[in-house]
């Protein structure tokens, strides 16, 4: 059994990887630079010895020949070094992208979906309505915390709008700003409310990269004074039971990509599985 205290940094090799000194991955780059410098020094030294072998040049034409020879040696050497450094930089950026993708996968699957799935199970095992209600409240909060932390940048905000009596209002939220005040209704003058309720009814999702740049369907525009530029909204449901809408928004345009959308879809379905009543 693990005896690691909550939120302690993992022991062993992980600690080394987080240490401030240069990571082992930084060595190949400095090794390559050292190798290139050594190679250039050796070529320069060889050329100097060859030039000085018969003594210093005495005429200007001999000096011009020496300079031209030096340039002719330096150009291919420089091109080769540049190419090697560029190849090395490409490999490093590919490595960084791979590490970022692997990190997100680990976070989503291992650190979020797994513990939340356990809470969903506990909701359905609850012995009393009070206990079930408490666990459902906890689940809603976990889902918005996960959505805000996994999707978009640091200023993302996630909200769960719960459907109740034909209206949706914020039941849980996390991230920047205050409590979301929006209430989505079916009132004729509430075009945004009608659009949001339709999204839930049709079990759809909507990803908007930039609310100011894109032509949005009527009712999907932000209300005046809204602080977000991009958002994802996903219907929360289980089978035919509609439960609400999970949204995440950010003040920057293009804050979310398709990976974020898939994370939101998974979060919405986990929430739906926990909120649905047994029939």
């Amino acid at each position: 059994m693990s005896s690691t205290p909550p939120l302690a940094d993992p022991p062993g090799p992980d600690v080394g990887a987080l240490a401030p000194e240069p990571s082992p991955a930084a060595w190949p780059r400095s090794r390559l630079r050292a190798y290139i410098a050594l190679e250039a020094s050796a070529v320069a030294l060889g050329y100097l010895v060859a030039v000085l072998w018969d003594g210093l040049p005495t005429t200007s034409s001999r000096w011009a020949l020496v300079v031209a020879g030096a340039v002719a040696v330096a150009i291919p050497l420089g091109i080769k070094s540049r190419r090697e450094l560029r190849q090395e930089a490409d490999a490093r950026s590919a490595e960084t992208i791979a590490i970022e993708a692997d990190t997100k996968l680990r976070l989503v699957v291992g650190d979020v979906v797994t513990p939340i799935a356990e809470v969903v199970g506990r909701v359905h095992q609850a012995g009393t309505e009070a206990e079930r209600g408490s666990l459902r409240g906890q689940l809603k909060q976990l889902i918005v915390e996960a959505a805000a932390n996994l999707c978009g940048g640091e200023r993302a905000r996630a909200t769960f709008f719960e459907l109740d009596g034909g209206e949706m209002r914020a039941a849980a939220w996390f991230g920047r700003g205050d409590q979301p005040e929006t209430v989505f209704t079916e009132a004729p003058e509430d075009r945004r409310g009608q659009e949001a309720l339709l999204l839930v009814r049709f079990h759809d999702f909507l990803l908007v990269d930039d609310v100011r740049a894109e032509k949005l369907p009527r009712g999907a525009e932000p209300r005046p004074g809204a602080t977000y530029r991009s958002f994802i909204s996903v219907a929360v449901f289980c089978a035919e039971e509609n439960l609400g809408m999970l949204s995440v928004d950010a003040p920057e345009p293009y804050a979310f990509d398709e990976t974020d959308l898939n994370v939101m879809r998974a979060m919405a379905q986990l929430l739906g599985a926990g909120l649905v009543d047994r029939h």
Partner: protein, 58 residues
């Protein structure tokens, strides 16, 4: 061999509301970055060894 908890204590502390989400995600992100770096470098090293081995390279 690797053996561990399906739902670790740290995750249980978050789902039970014993730690703040910001603290939990900061910890989880640090750990995930560290493990992902190690895993990717191991995979790259293995691939390098395979490609340098004349018996397995194409």
């Amino acid at each position: 061999m690797i053996r561990g908890q399906v739902v670790p204590d740290e995750a249980r502390a978050w789902t039970a509301g014993l730690v703040l989400a910001s603290d939990y995600f900061a910890w989880a992100r640090r750990r995930a970055v560290s493990k992902a770096s190690a895993a990717i470098r191991t995979r790259m090293d293995r691939r390098r060894v395979r490609s340098e081995d004349p018996g397995t390279s194409r």
